[in-house]
């Protein structure tokens, strides 16, 4: 639907109540796959991180990865879920070559975790309780590349190429119950929910949680209920939402699209829709009915999982603090103002800043770089800031500024180099030949020149009006193209002015 045909967001909310639901897939960062001892490493040469189990070859048998069970239980507990005393794997049967077995091993009627609750705080301070229906374990599928046809998409492709390196990577799928009452905050809530899940899995250390790499994937369900009707609308399920900002934008778009159709007397088709990051729209995918028949049945090659109470207690005791509690703690530890902390929350970079501070940077510096220059560059590139640079590198950058190796201006150039993949801050500084001029000789020459060019300023400094020196310092910094240390320049200006 063209942007012009969408209904205005406020108008849509006047007429309809949005009802949301999310399915978030989390790839666990175990060393090996869910059911085989192939390395859990997606990337590299196609079809090399696989075993006969991942190809479903005759005679091969899956065996459950113990670490994946522990991670799944920890995640279930962190989501406030009950852990099932006995849970089972099930076969989800379908003919599609992203898995070689023609079924996916998943969990169906006996998930490992169920009935949880996640507290989600919005940037505006509102707190929502999102109720979790279940969290179940399953295996990821291989990657298909569609070749031929005009678009490179499935429709019109001549053939597809399959890489099974990702097949069998452990996943936990977290399914929410229906969420109503979000109203105007629906798009923000969607973003904040996924962000909260990301914070939880990062704090548990069980996933790399990079959305742009597909470690964390969100399918967003949304329907509109006409105000006062008390009836649920038909839902769509939007896939391919690969960043936090996409989650927000996709929900907003679907509300406006569905409202426009409904207001004209049309009906919503129950279907999957694909989010297009570049154009900011969703397009129709496969029709989907609740009666999709995957012929689930208990996986006969695997045995039930029955975690002992002692194991559950052990994992519960090892849980990190809940994100909501952590937020309160960090706000106090960092000593930011309400506005500053809100700024950090809005940016979705709390974890990055925390890791940067943990690596040695001062909180104010960490905040300045993440919500300033890095966020700006991320915005320009339409990606999440967390995907650009690692907290370790930011902390290294800050340390180099602190000890005078870099000025802010040089640091920005170094940051660009780090983002461009040229190496660590120290490496980029070296390879680009960026050094702060600490040779007083070069500085003194520039200062004398600047003082000579501004005799009135020189007079003022000599009269004790030290703040007038700013004009000269500015001129010197400009002449040195930012490679000078401003504090040293100031010292030298005051010294030279008295001679």
């Amino acid at each position: 639907m063209a942007k012009a045909e969408l209904m205005d967001f406020d108008k849509a909310l006047e007429l309809f109540e949005p009802v949301l639901g999310f399915e978030v897939h989390v790839e666990l960062n175990t060393r090996t796959k869910m059911f085989s001892d192939a390395p859990n490493f997606f990337g590299g040469e196609p079809n090399t991180n696989i075993t006969p189990v991942d190809l479903g070859l005759p005679g091969s048998l899956p065996v459950v990865n113990e670490q994946a069970i522990r991670y799944s239980i920890s995640l279930g507990l962190a989501l406030g879920c009950e852990i099932a005393p006995s849970s089972r794997f099930a076969r989800k049967n379908y003919f599609y070559p992203d898995l070689a077995k023609n079924y996916q091993i998943s969990q169906y009627d006996e998930p490992i975790a169920h009935d949880g609750n996640v507290e989600v705080e919005l940037p505006n301070g509102k707190v929502f309780q999102v109720s979790i229906e279940r969290a179940h374990m399953e295996e990821d599928a291989g990657k298909l590349t569609h070749v031929g046809g005009a678009t490179g998409r499935i429709q019109g492709a001549e053939y597809s190429l399959v890489d099974y390196n990702r097949a069998g990577v452990p996943l936990v799928e977290i399914v929410t119950n229906m969420i109503s009452g979000a109203e105007h905050d629906a798009p923000e809530l969607a973003k904040a929910y996924v962000s909260t899940i990301r914070d939880i899995v990062v704090s548990l250390g069980i996933s790399d949680a990079k959305m742009e790499r597909g470690n964390l994937r969100c399918d967003a369900n949304i329907s509109l209920s006409p105000r006062g009707s008390g009836k649920l609308g038909t839902r769509t399920e939007t896939k391919n939402v690969n960043s936090l900002r996409s989650v927000e934008r996709a929900i907003r778009y679907e509300i406006q699209r569905q409202a426009a159709i409904l207001a004209k007397g049309g009906t919503i088709t129950q279907e999957t829709r694909h989010w297009h990051e570049d154009t900011g729209v969703t397009s129709a995918g496969r029709p989907k009915s609740d009666a999709d028949d995957y012929r689930y049945f208990p996986e006969p090659d695997l045995l039930p999982v029955e975690p002992s109470e002692a194991l559950i207690a052990e994992l519960r005791a090892a849980l990190p603090e809940a994100p909501a509690i952590r937020r309160r703690r960090l706000k106090e530890a960092w000593a930011f103002t309400d506005l500053e902390f809100q700024d950090v929350q809005n940016s979705g970079l709390v974890t990055e800043i925390e890791l940067t501070v943990a690596a040695g940077a001062a909180p104010a510096q960490a905040r300045k770089w993440w919500t300033g220059e890095i966020a700006r560059l991320a915005n320009l590139a339409s990606v999440d800031a967390s995907s650009l640079v690692s907290p370790l590198h930011v902390s290294e950058l800050v340390a180099m500024i602190d000890n005078g190796e870099l000025t802010d201006r040089l640091a920005r150039q170094v940051l660009e180099g780090v983002i461009a993949g040229e190496g660590s801050p120290a490496e980029v500084t070296k390879s680009r030949g960026l050094v702060v001029v600490s040779d007083d000789g070069a500085l003194i020459a520039a200062i004398d020149e600047a003082l000579a060019a501004q005799p009135d300023v020189l007079e003022k400094i000599r009269d004790g009006k030290v703040q007038a020196a700013g004009a000269v310092i500015g001129a010197v910094m400009k002449a040195m193209k930012g490679t000078a240390d401003a504090a040293r320049v100031r010292e030298l200006v005051l010294e030279r002015a008295q001679q």
Partner: protein, 99 residues
């Protein structure tokens, strides 16, 4: 007698990329029919108060440690593939969507 038809078996074989001769389809149609009839018979006695059995032996919690083992090379992996591009399996154009 079940209502499995030759057409159903032929469709299923096509989905599973298994080449069957008309004689094999005839034979499998009969055999699958017998299997379905047998399951129907078991269903008659499997009432709600009988828990489902997925294993004859009562075992639980069989796990393996999270330690990587040997993997196939791409060449080995592709050895049985009808078509490939040297590193990836090649499959015919797919209508429909990822699951």
């Amino acid at each position: 007698m079940s209502e499995i038809t030759n057409d159903q078996v032929s469709h299923l074989a096509n989905l599973a990329r298994i080449a069957l001769t008309p004689e094999e389809i005839d034979k499998l149609t009969g055999e699958l029919g017998v299997i379905i009839d047998s399951i129907a018979k078991v269903s008659e006695v499997a009432t709600a108060d009988v828990p489902a059995t997925s294993h004859p032996i009562r075992l639980v919690n069989v796990f393996r440690p999270d330690v990587p083992g040997p993997t196939l090379t791409a060449k080995q992996a592709l050895a049985g593939a009808p078509e490939h591009d040297g590193s990836r399996f090649k499959v015919s154009a797919i209508l429909g969507e990822e699951q």
